[in-house]
């Protein structure tokens, strides 16, 4: 054992003593108890963290294409949206609608070849990410923009301990030494509700369950106090009770630290519960965007209307027949002409076959891309 290792051991011992007094944040279930939230803190008036005028991220006309054997695949084709400070924004759509690719584009993690960002701007804190150098990107990734991936099992490195993986970012971005980093890792693990963090910090990912692994991912993402957190289907691989735990953690951290969050999901329930503003995507484009309450009460794009009507709900009448969107999502390499949704749309007209509808304003902060007349849409009661 080297002198340094011995020193770290001793320090760790001291730290353990210190951490005994760690106070659990009030919003987390204490060890040994589950938690009941009688009145969830979720309505526009209670949202104090959103700073509307301060746009943390603005994506303008982003186009990310892949060049494959099948030809040009327009995974993201002219996508624009923004995220304010402290806001949680949803990117919603079915698989292959471009929601994950647009998130990876923000971090410039699109594998090249075959993928390439062919156009657009991604303004993050006033600076265009697409014009940044690789060194500047390194300072952004994991530090100012963090990401939680869908599959914690494949995103964590199986041969490194949890401590090594989380402290890597702390040492790199926050300039901590090994001892400080350990202290911080333990604090973070406790923050995301991992009991016995002092001991478990030296374990490997396989020793944790799926839900626990996703907590580790969240701890890692939060380690550098990012301005923007991208959660890409964060709970698809976990159970509902664990899903509730994880989303509460992310949401409470957002409210406490003013982090902006992009939630990428296909689950319309999660969107309703945890998101302030929703962007609905279809075939690489934005089809509708509005504040969550507005979008659910007053959907104005046929795809959004169809999507909402096709989801079974816990509170709906049992055996109420679901309405379906006919057909299948399109192959991105062979997109239909005009509006990509027209083959599945009940309102399609000749015009829809020819040109793509521009994004138009249909209400306060409510935009959609559709030619169908508002008065003719059959909306849910």
């Amino acid at each position: 054992m080297t002198v340094l290792q011995a020193y770290i051991r001793i320090k760790e011992g001291e730290l353990r003593g210190k951490h005994q007094q760690f106070a659990y944040p009030a919003f987390l279930p204490k060890p040994g108890a589950s938690m009941i939230i009688e009145k969830p803190l979720r309505s526009a008036s209670e949202m104090t963290t959103v700073v509307k005028d301060e746009k943390v991220l603005e994506v303008k006309n982003l186009r990310t294409y892949f060049y494959t054997q099948e030809g040009e695949v327009k995974a993201v084709d002219g996508l624009s949206y923004y995220v304010s400070r402290g806001e949680s924004v949803g990117l919603v759509g079915e698989s292959a609608c471009g929601k994950s690719v647009s998130a990876l584009s923000i971090l410039r993690l699109i594998p090249y070849p075959p993928g390439i960002i062919v156009g657009g701007e991604i303004i993050f804190q006033g600076k265009d990410i697409l014009k940044s150098t690789e060194d500047e990107m390194r300072d952004i990734r994991g530090n100012r923009i963090a990401m939680i991936f869908q599959e914690p099992t494949t995103s964590l490195n199986p041969v490194l301990t949890v401590r090594t993986q989380i402290s890597e970012a702390l040492e790199l971005h926050r300039g901590m030494d090994k001892v400080e980093a350990l202290q911080e890792v333990i604090r973070l693990l406790k923050l995301v509700g991992i009991a016995d963090a002092e001991r478990r910090v030296n374990e490997y990912p396989f020793q944790f369950s799926g839900g626990m692994q996703q907590r580790i991912m969240i701890a890692m993402a939060l380690s550098c106090n990012p301005a923007l957190l991208i959660a890409d289907e964060p709970t698809t691989s976990v159970d509902v009770t664990v899903q509730a735990q994880l989303l509460e953690i992310i949401d409470d951290l957002r409210r406490r630290f003013g982090t902006s969050v992009i939630v990428i999901t296909h689950n319309l329930g999660i969107v309703a519960r945890y998101v302030d503003r929703v962007n609905v995507m279809y075939a690489g484009r934005l089809v509708e965007t509005a504040a969550t309450e507005e979008l659910y009460a007053n959907p104005l794009h046929p795809y959004t209307i169809g999507l909402l009507a096709s989801v079974p709900r816990l509170d709906s009448e049992r055996k109420k027949s679901l309405r379906i969107i006919k057909g299948l999502p399109p192959n991105l390499a062979r997109l239909p002409s005009g509006c990509a949704f027209h083959p599945r749309c009940d309102y399609a007209m000749a015009k829809c076959h020819e040109e793509y509808p521009p994004v138009e304003k249909v209400g306060e902060n409510h935009y959609r891309a559709c030619f169908a007349e508002l008065s003719k849409l059959k909306r849910p009661q």
């Binding site: 279930p29 060890p31 040994g32 108890a33 589950s34 938690m35 009941i36 939230i37 009688e38 009145k39 969830p40 979720r42 309505s43 079915e94 698989s95 509700g193 009991a195 369950s209 839900g211 626990m212 159970d239 509902v240 009770t241 664990v242 509730a244 735990q245 509460e248 296909h266 689950n267 319309l268 329930g269 999660i270 969107v271 309703a272 519960r273 945890y274 969550t292 309450e293 659910y296 009460a297 169809g306 999507l307 909402l308 096709s310 989801v311 079974p312 709900r313 816990l314 509170d315 709906s316 049992r318 055996k319 109420k320 027949s321 679901l322 309405r323 379906i324 969107i325 299948l328 999502p329």
Partner: protein
């Protein structure tokens, strides 16, 4: 057993051995299903919900006698399947079929769609020649695919279409009972609805009985007449679907329902939420007493000591629950 029961499951146990060492000696059991009893009425859909690892899939497969070493009785129309000889069971399988979760893994990539759907007909010797071709074409139409697709291979179909092929294969032998094991969880939202509607239509047209296994409580509510909730190898609550969703009694059911967000912010915001601590414990070494007690927000001393039994709330109410605290 009553006359209207199609399937009766009595005290079903399925332990998977855990082996270790050079001699592969048994060191423990994974108690996947640990004393489960229920019945399925003819023509109904029984939903079976629970989190991963709670034993719902194992239960479904045990009913079909797909595991050796399961204990307990499974009666199908009064016949005890556990006593049948291999050949008898093989013939019996015509009556009960399985629809799988993953439409990508459950179809043989080297067989065409037509061969896949037609195989059960051949195995059970139900049709040949022109009749065989007609029946396969009819099955294609039944699941809303076109018969000309019969020569295509599975990779040429989308996820939803593959699931339709899986359904057609299950229905080829005209079964009475179908175990649907998470049939829509691998599919996109808009496709899920298509498959659910198809399953409902087929049930009504063909008079099928379903055991519908899923973790998505909203989907289960939509299709089921009765629902059973499983936790760590046991059924904790079973009752009519409407009753379960309106009046859940077991703390786990209550927590499970509150964890599912409703896709409507007006309704969902303001709903009471129960955030359970931790994960489901390992079924190798389930906690003593009530299995839910370490995560329960109402647990008392008795819950740690005595295991509650599944009991009917009031005789005839058909609402069964396994909790000490429910009166």
């Amino acid at each position: 057993m009553k006359d209207n029961h199609l399937v009766d499951v009595e005290k079903l146990y399925m332990y998977f051995p855990v082996t270790a060492g050079v001699l592969q000696r048994k060191v423990a059991d994974v108690k996947a299903v640990d004393g489960v009893s229920f019945y399925v009425i003819k023509g109904e859909t029984l939903g079976l919900v629970g989190e991963s690892g709670c034993g719902k899939t194992t239960t479904g497969r045990c009913i079909l006698q797909l595991y050796e070493g399961s204990k307990g009785k499974v009666l199908f129309e009064g016949i005890d399947l556990t006593n049948l000889k291999k050949e008898q069971m093989r013939r019996m399988r015509r009556n009960m079929q399985l629809i799988f979760q993953d439409p990508f893994a459950s179809l043989d990539p080297r067989m065409t769609a037509g061969e896949i759907i037609g195989e059960p007909l051949k195995v059970h010797g139900l049709a040949r020649g022109k009749e065989y071709k007609d029946q396969v074409a009819e099955l294609f139409r039944m699941v809303e695919l076109e018969p000309y697709m019969a020569d295509r291979y599975p990779h040429e179909f989308s996820g939803g279409q593959r699931q339709r092929i899986g359904i057609a294969r299950a229905l080829a032998v005209r079964p009475k009972f179908v175990v649907c094991d998470e049939p829509v969880s691998a599919l996109d939202v808009s496709i899920q609805a298509q498959i659910i509607i198809l399953l409902e239509k087929l049930r009504d047209e063909l008079g099928l009985t379903y055991l519908f296994i899923a973790h998505d409580l909203s989907v289960v509510r939509n299709i089921s007449d009765r629902v059973a909730v499983m936790y760590l190898g046991k059924i904790v609550e079973i009752t009519q679907a409407d009753e379960l969703y309106a009046n859940p009694l077991h703390p786990y059911t209550v927590a499970l329902l509150s964890a599912v967000p409703i896709p409507d912010p007006k309704v969902d915001r303001g709903r009471k939420r129960i955030i359970l601590r931790g994960d489901v414990p390992s079924p190798i070494n389930p906690p003593p007493g009530c299995r839910f007690n370490p995560r329960c927000y109402q647990a008392t001393d008795i819950c740690k000591e005595k295991e509650p039994e599944l009991r009917e709330l009031t005789p005839g109410s058909e609402h069964w629950v396994s909790c000490h605290l429910v009166q």
